[in-house]
Symmetry: C2
């Protein structure tokens, strides 16, 4: 892999355009895309211009959004190439590219589209962000029930060239309402004279254009389909969504959940390439919020100042105890966030989960209390009883916070992953301090 990149950089440096074009001709779009992501900026645009029209389209769709934007900027003076490229893109990939651009730029680029492609794009961009409509492509093949299999294949050969996939063919009525979807396998294995009517069972799974993209992910996982049809309220077939777009969205959603749980505000795709300031911006807000929230932990401690002064050894165990509550709480939150995300658990289940969590957290608390007692027996045997009881109580409290917070966020239409590990830890800290010193004052008679 490295070799051909060096070779290309060399050819670009020595301005051997002919040789360069020859090398590029033999490469896969994915290799060229990979190359463009790594090569120096001025070589990049030269290479892109040397690609043939089909290569240019294929390669462009494989690039990261930042790279795509740069290519478009580079092509600004070359209206013909730019217009060809934009018109050639698959409608769904074009929507994905446009929706990340500033409105002004989108508007300018839209002027370069043919009237037909512009209509499609305007329609697709009209659907809400994160809706199925945004992932859709209108490029599919539909047939009628009264056709024979042979006629269907004739139709497919005539209209299938631009279709994003021929793996699934859609059956519609005269009003273009969806009746069924047929896998190409069934059509190939059927006899040519069979009627489509006889092949279909009128049972199909479809998405609604206004559905959330998460619903689409779930449907693809449940039904193992390579493509799903998208309809409106009247069951009119508007377009299809293919599995590759769904895999991208699923990965993005997972990353988003993961980042939010680590209290990073919005998704940072590649920390290696992200600008330093963006990294700072997406991390600082929660950190500062948590600093101010921690005022309460300080206040709680100062409230117990005299307890601490009479027995400084209590402080030795403070990080251990509040840390344990936070750790156990993070675990509970982890389980709930992921279960809510993949749909194993719904908001209404919180009540059933609480009883189970109380039992589990009690067992965890007892075990950890034994562990802390062992530790304390060497260093502070006089407070073992305090430590034991505190550990059980704060682990249970931490777990309940970790369990409930994701549900509360979901209830208020926020992402459950907003219940980040740092947030759980901070809340558990405050509760832990109050519980610890209260138990201590009670047992040690301060």
């Amino acid at each position: 892999m490295v070799e051909f990149k060096d070779k290309i950089q060399l050819l670009a440096d020595s301005k051997d355009w002919k040789g360069l074009k020859q090398v590029l001709n033999d490469l896969d779009p994915i290799q060229i895309a990979d190359l463009l992501e790594d090569i120096s900026d001025n070589a990049e645009i030269i290479i892109f211009r040397l690609l043939n029209r089909n290569q240019a389209k294929e390669v462009f769709q494989l690039l990261s959004h930042d790279k795509q934007e740069q290519i478009i900027e580079d092509l600004a003076n070359n209206v013909k190439t730019l217009s060809n490229l934009l018109n050639d893109l698959e409608p769904d990939d074009r929507t994905a590219f446009f929706e990340e651009l500033p409105g002004k730029v989108t508007h300018r680029l839209m002027q370069l589209l043919s009237p037909e492609e512009r209509t499609i794009t305007t329609q697709l961009l009209g659907y809400p962000e994160d809706s199925v409509g945004r992932l859709m492509t209108p490029e599919y093949v539909a047939i009628k029930t009264n056709n024979t299999v042979e006629q269907a294949f004739k139709h497919i050969r005539k209209y299938g060239k631009d279709s994003e996939t021929l793996n699934v063919i859609y059956v519609v009525d005269d009003e273009w309402k969806l009746i069924d979807d047929i896998r190409i396998k069934e059509l190939i294995l059927a006899s040519p004279q069979q009627k489509i009517e006889d092949l279909i069972d009128r049972r199909f799974v479809s998405l609604h254009a206004m559905d959330d993209q998460e619903t689409a992910i779930k449907s693809f996982q449940d039904y193992d389909r390579v493509a799903l049809p998208v309809t409106n309220d009247e069951n009119l077939l508007l377009g299809i969504v293919t599995f590759d777009d769904i895999m991208d969205v699923a990965e993005e959603e997972s990353t988003e959940d993961f980042h939010k749980f680590g209290s990073i505000q919005s998704v940072i795709t590649n920390p290696l390439k992200e600008k330093t300031f963006n990294l700072y911006k997406n991390r600082i807000i929660w950190l500062v919020v948590l600093v101010f929230m921690n005022i309460f932990s300080g206040a709680a401690i100062s409230h117990f100042e005299n307890v601490i002064q009479s027995m400084v050894s209590l402080v030795f165990f403070l990080p251990l105890l509040i840390g344990s509550a936070g750790n156990a709480g993070s675990q509970s939150a982890t389980l709930m966030i992921r279960a809510l995300a993949v749909g194993d658990v719904e908001v209404k289940d919180w009540y059933n989960l609480i009883w189970k969590e109380l039992l589990v957290s009690f067992l965890l608390g007892i075990t950890m209390a034994v562990a802390v007692s062992i530790v304390a027996s060497f260093r502070a045997p006089e407070i073992i009883i305090v430590l034991f009881i505190t550990m059980v109580l704060i682990v249970m409290t931490g777990c309940l916070i970790g369990l409930l917070l994701p549900f509360i966020f979901t209830r208020f239409k926020l992402d459950p992953a907003t219940a980040s590990a740092p947030l759980i830890t901070s809340i558990a800290d405050i509760c832990g301090i109050v519980i610890y010193f209260s138990v201590a004052s009670y047992f040690l008679n301060f």
Copy 2:
């Protein structure tokens, strides 16, 4: 949805088998699977037995592993049905089911397979866990280069029935070495008399049977294919992997990373259905390990006992400071774990990332130091300078720990997500305590 479930439960309770069979006949396999997951245990086996052979296979493949095991147990006395079911399963789904069973049970069930299916299963189970080989199915269609498109379709019609997919057809030479893969779209759009030879470009993406499943996920995402061929060292075509299995693996991997990051030992698929003891078992180990690790934080504090005794107000800010280090460190770990998982960052990049992280963490530290100074100005103005300097230092330390730990784990062939939020927090705690009280002793001249 709820209605038909109630209806079925009613029919089962009134033992109306004929009516029940009729209702089941009209349902989708996914609806039946959904039903079996929810319905009472004794109704479950009755329903399963009422399904026709094809339904039984389809439904079984959609069930959760626990449910599958239960069905198999229920069918133990009905060797014929059990044997039919096991033989009908797609080889890749059968492997997935068998690999989760105790060896003894697998062995017993293997006896029920036909010699042919048993050979396939033994081969597939021979590949290492988490390897591509385990996801593979040998049910695909391959054609030769000297065929015409028309001949190819004849061949596909003859042998395609059992193929898991006809979306992609594979081209092999006489030794069954892989030459290319062709999407069915290309075959359909080609003219019948064209030679396969002229349609192929001999450029293909393939997986190796011993590849890690994560490599397979990456390939599917990069190349947007619905299926990929699997070969051995000699480039012999062994089988194919389809996107639906990859989506399942990708979801599992994401869940695993998420759970590990929350310090849960192994994946808990659905906390609502998981046994209480399993929940306890998968959570307790790390929690206890962390309790013992926290001995060091206690030791660090006791080392500074006289500093604390002379100025108890230092303790007020302890949770805030060590919490901040842990929070910032968790963020860094989150970014790295996910970037390593999706392949944006590789182990060799650690050096480049450190300089960026030092700058980002310095900016974060300064901002948070300003925040803590504001808080302190009301409560303890005399230690603002200590708090300011400590905050910058511990945030930077926390971030470096969070950044490096995932790389260190990866380097030692462990999952980077082993660097869980609780682990980072605990290590940051210890460092934070030492830094805080050292800075305090220095500035306050203890």
